[in-house]
């Protein structure tokens, strides 16, 4: 379950990054959650494409084994951490200009 643990750690780090490092607090903003709600179905669709066609495959020991639209549950954590981290940094950089 190395993917599981790393994914949880990255989600925790992205939350810490948003709240304590950039101090943007996107997690408290409607615009972020609305954006995530738009992005999520596209992530499920593109993930389904990559995993159902076996373009990307996973070692069974690396994941917990729960799959959503063919893709490991962990992929959702991966995507959330990536999006939160990038968007929080994007907004932070906008404050300087």
């Amino acid at each position: 379950m190395s993917y599981t643990f790393t994914a949880i750690a990255f989600v925790a780090a992205s939350i810490f990054f948003d709240l304590k490092i950039t101090k943007i607090g996107l997690l408290r903003r409607r615009a972020f959650w609305t954006s995530y709600a738009i992005i999520l179905p596209f992530q499920l669709l593109t993930n389904w494409w990559l995993t159902s066609r076996n373009i990307v495959m996973y070692r069974s020991g690396a994941i917990i084994g729960v799959r959503i639209a063919a893709a490991p549950l962990e992929d959702l954590l991966f995507g959330f951490a990536l999006i939160l981290g990038v968007l929080s940094m994007w907004v932070r950089l906008g404050k300087r200009s």
Partner: protein, 113 residues
């Protein structure tokens, strides 16, 4: 799709998001320096994760469905493009949301001042 299988997913993501630049005038590509400065440090951590996971065999790719071009740490070209295209799509999305909801104080994201 053959070897274009993974590239197809990337093309779909570009097609699904980059029109926001034109129709909603989100000005993300016009601010590409800021975008790349936001993406680079975050994506670097994810690429390290990717490299370690590939090395350990946590995930792997069908060699018949990728182009077969590899960058550093045996990471396929498509993965590098993923970490450019997906963050750009996310930034375009939140910029489109704020554009639709502009002038509404409870929809601010924090860089308005």
């Amino acid at each position: 799709m053959g070897k274009w299988g993974y590239v197809g997913m990337l093309a779909f993501t570009v097609a699904g998001s980059f029109w926001l630049e034109v129709v909603f005038k989100v000005r993300v590509l016009k601010r590409i320096t800021r975008a790349l400065r936001a993406i680079a440090p975050i994506v670097l951590l994810f690429l390290i994760w990717d490299a370690v996971a590939i090395k350990h065999g946590d995930w792997f790719f069908d060699s018949k469905q990728i182009l077969g071009i590899f960058g550093p740490f045996h990471i396929p070209l498509e993965e590098y493009l993923f970490f450019l295209v997906v963050p750009l799509a996310a930034i375009m999305t939140i910029e489109a949301v704020r554009r639709v909801k502009r002038d509404k104080s409870d929809w601010l994201i924090g860089d308005e001042e």
